[in-house]
Homo-oligomer: 394 residues x 2
C-alpha cells in the first residue's frame, strides 16, 4: 500500500520507512530535520554516524531496488502538508514527526511551548488535510505509554469501562502524563479522537513504550542506511544510554531508586507494529489505541542486567531523580491487540545488550562525556543543557 | 486581596473585576481586546453598547471610588506576562483570557489552530511566570463543563474514584470535549494539573456551565459600566440568544431535537463563585476542580420557557444540529464544592428571562439578523461566518 512516513529521517522513522519499503509498500518520507537541529543545539551527535536523507534514499535504491520518495518540509506549514498529501496520495500516514524528548520539553518555557505547539499544530494540520483531501486515509499516530502515567490500577488500551453509581460507560482512559512532551501527546490523542468523531476519520494511536536497539535487517544492509543512536541525557533513552555508559566506563546513571517500571520494546518490533497497524486499518470514524510494548522492566533491573553483561568495573550510580515521578509504584499495562494481529515479539536478551555495547565501543571516540549526565531538572523552570554550558535558547 | 483578572474587558471578566473591586479587593485587569476584534471579523457588535476599557475604569473610579488598574497586552507575549505579574504582584490570578467560542474554533483550520495555540500558550506562559515569580499565587482558571462531554455516568468534579480489576485509584475524570475550543480547555487542565504536581503551584479549575444574564449590581450603576451581550450564532450562548430572538420576532433556533442538557448559571453567580474560589485558596501543590453551575436545563426546555415568557407569536425552529453531539442523552453532574463554600444561587426564574427580553428590545435596532442563525457546521472543515458572506480568514 502507499504509506507516507512523517519524521522519516529520525531514529525510528527511517528504519520504519525501510521496513515498509522492503515489504513492497510504496513509501514516501517527510522530514524537516528538526531532530538534527536539536543535536546542534545540544552540542552532541548520533553515536553512530548517519548520512543525509538524500544519500540514504539513493543508497537504499542501489541496495534494494526500491524507491523511497523524500518530501522536505514542516508539518506546521499547512500548505506543505496539503501539497504533500495531494501529491503522494497515501492510504496510510505514519506520524513520527514530533519533538519526542521529555527532558527537551522540560528545559524551559521556550522549549515547553515549542514542543506543544509543534506537536499539536502539526497534528491538527494533518487532521484537516486528511479530512479535506481524503478522509479514508488511515492516520497511524505515534503516542506514548507515558500518556497514562503510573495509576494504581491496570492500564488498558486507550479506553476503560467504568461503573459508577450504578451506571456504566466505556470512556477514554484517564491520563496523568509526566512532562510537557507527554502532555503534548495527550493533547494529540484528544484532538484525533474528536476528528474521528466529527469527520469520520480513521486513526490508530500507538501508545509506544521505550524503544531499545539500533540495528534492523534493512539498516544493516549498508553503512549509509544506519539509523541514529542517542545516548545523551536529553534524547538518549534508558537501555541505549546504559549500553553507551557501560562501553565507555561511565557509571550507569539510575534516577533515584530505579523502581520506575515502563513498557519497552525492541526497535524491530516497532517496525512490525507499525506495519500491522497499516495493513489492518480501523473502520471509518474509528479511533483505536494500541499499547505498543512487549515487556515491562524497572530501570534498576535494566541497569543491573547491563552491568552484568558488560562485566568488570561497571558501576551503578543512583543519582537524585531529576524528574518528578514515583520511584516505586504499581505497574501493570495491557497490550494484547498487536499480538492478536500477529506481532511476534523480540524479547530482551543478553545478545541484544551485547550488540548495543559492542556498537557503542566501536564509536566510543564520538562520545561527549558532558552530555551523558541528566541536565534537565523537572523542578526547575530553567535548565542548562548544552555540553558547552551555554544557554539553550534565550 | 490583590487579584488580577485576565480577560477583564470581556463579557464575564469585566463584571467580575467590578464585583471584586466593590468588595474591596485590589483589582487589576489584563486584556488584549481580542474579543472586540472577533466582532470586527464577524461583522457584529455587542447588542448593548459597551465603552472602551479606559472609560470603564475611569467611570468606575468616579462611581465607586475604587481603582481598577488596566494592563494592555497579550498572554502569548511572555515578556508582557512576566512584567505584569511582577508589577501587580497578585495573590490570585483569575484567568478568563481565552478564545471561548466553540463555533469560532470550528470555522476552519486557521481558527482551530489559533484557538488551541492562543489558549494553551497563554496558560503555559502564566504557569511559568507564576512558578518563577511567586509559586504561592493562586491561579483561578476558567474551564468549562463542556470538557466532560455527555458520558453515560454521573459527572464528578474533576476526579473520579475507579475500581478496576480489584484495585482502586482516584484519577482525572475522562474527558470527551465537543469542539477544538473545548479541547483547548482539556489541554489546559492537563497542563495546569502537571504544573501543580512538579512546581507546587496551586490552582482552582472552574468548570463553568453556560452563563445567562447580562446585568450585575455593579454594571447597573452607570451605563458606561455595562458588559457585552452576544446573540450571534458564533458567540451568543443559548438563553441570551433566545431572548434576542424572541425580542426581534426571530424563531428560536433549537439545534436538532433540543434534548441537549447542560449545566447553567446566572452571571451573578459566576462572580460569586470566582470570589469564593479566590478567598478560599487550595493548598500549595493542590489542583482542584469545581463544577460551576447551579441548574441543568435541556435546550428545548429553555426555548419553550422563553417562548412562554415572550408570549404571542414567538415560534421554535428545530434546525438541523450544526454540531456533532448527542441530541438526547443522560446528564447528571455533581456541583457541591462551591455551595459548600457558601454559594447562594440565583436560580432561573421568569423575571430573569423577562429582563433579558426587555434589554434586547431596547437595543433591537442593533441586531444583525444574518448573524443569528448557526453558520458553523462541525462536519465541514471550512464554514462561512461573516454576515457579509465574505471569507473568515483566508
Amino acid at each position: 500500500m502507499r504509506i507516507l512516513v512523517l519524521g522519516g529521517d529520525g531514529y525510528l522513522g527511517w528504519p520504519t520507512a525501510l521496513h515498509l519499503s522492503a515489504r513492497n509498500h510504496d513509501v514516501g518520507v517527510v522530514d524537516n530535520f528538526a531532530r538534527r537541529l536539536y543535536d546542534c543545539e545540544m552540542g552532541v551527535d548520533s553515536l553512530v554516524p548517519i548520512r543525509q536523507l538524500q544519500r540514504r534514499v539513493t543508497t537504499w535504491k542501489e541496495v534494494s531496488g526500491h524507491t523511497v520518495q523524500p518530501f522536505i518540509g514542516d508539518l506546521t506549514d499547512e500548505v506543505f502538508v496539503e501539497e504533500t498529501i495531494r501529491e503522494f496520495a497515501p492510504e496510510a500516514i505514519v506520524h513520527f514527526a514530533e519533538q519526542r524528548s521529555a527532558p527537551y520539553s522540560m528545559i524551559d518555557r521556550k522549549h515547553a511551548v515549542y514542543t506543544q505547539v509543534n506537536n499539536v499544530v502539526g497534528t491538527l494540520n494533518l487532521l484537516y488535510a486528511i479530512a479535506e483531501i481524503d478522509p479514508s486515509i488511515h492516520l497511524v499516530k505515534l503516542g506514548t505509554m507515558g500518556e497514562y502515567g503510573t495509576p494504581n490500577i491496570d492500564i488498558e488500551e486507550g479506553f476503560i469501562e467504568i461503573t459508577h453509581k450504578g451506571r456504566t460507560d466505556i470512556l477514554p482512559y484517564p491520563k496523568q502524563p509526566g512532562s510537557f512532551y507527554h502532555l503534548s501527546k495527550v493533547h494529540d490523542s484528544h484532538n484525533i479522537h474528536f476528528a474521528c468523531r466529527i469527520w469520520g476519520l480513521r486513526s490508530t494511536d500507538l501508545n509506544q513504550g521505550i524503544v531499545y536497539g539500533q540495528e534492523t535487517p534493512e539498516t544493516m544492509l549498508h553503512r549509509d542506511l544506519r539509523t541514529r543512536f542517542d545516548y545523551d541525557g536529553v534524547f538518549g533513552t534508558v537501555l541505549n544510554r546504559f549500553a553507551v555508559q557501560a562501553a565507555v566506563g561511565y557509571p550507569l546513571t539510575v534516577y533515584g531508586k530505579g523502581g520506575q517500571t515502563r513498557g519497552m520494546l525492541d526497535i524491530r518490533d516497532t517496525l512490525a507494529c507499525v506495519e500491522l497497524a497499516c495493513v489492518n486499518p480501523p473502520e471509518p470514524g474509528e479511533y483505536r489505541v494500541f499499547n505498543q510494548f512487549t515487556e515491562s522492566f524497572s530501570v534498576i533491573d535494566l541497569a543491573e542486567w547491563t552491568a552484568k553483561i558488560a562485566g568488570g568495573d561497571v558501576t551503578i550510580d543512583n543519582v537524585p531523580d531529576p524528574r518528578v515521578e514515583k520511584e516505586e509504584h504499581y505497574y501493570n499495562a495491557v497490550a494484547t491487540q498487536l499480538p492478536a494481529l500477529g506481532l511476534k515479539p523480540h524479547f530482551l536478551e543478553d545478545a541484544t545488550i551485547e550488540v548495543l555495547i559492542e556498537t557503542a565501543k566501536q564509536h566510543k571516540d564520538r562520545v561527549e562525556f558532558d552530555a551523558i549526565r541528566p541536565t534537565v531538572n523537572w523542578r526547575s523552570t530553567k535548565s542548562q543543557v548544552s555540553v558547552a554550558k551555554g544557554a539553550a535558547g534565550d
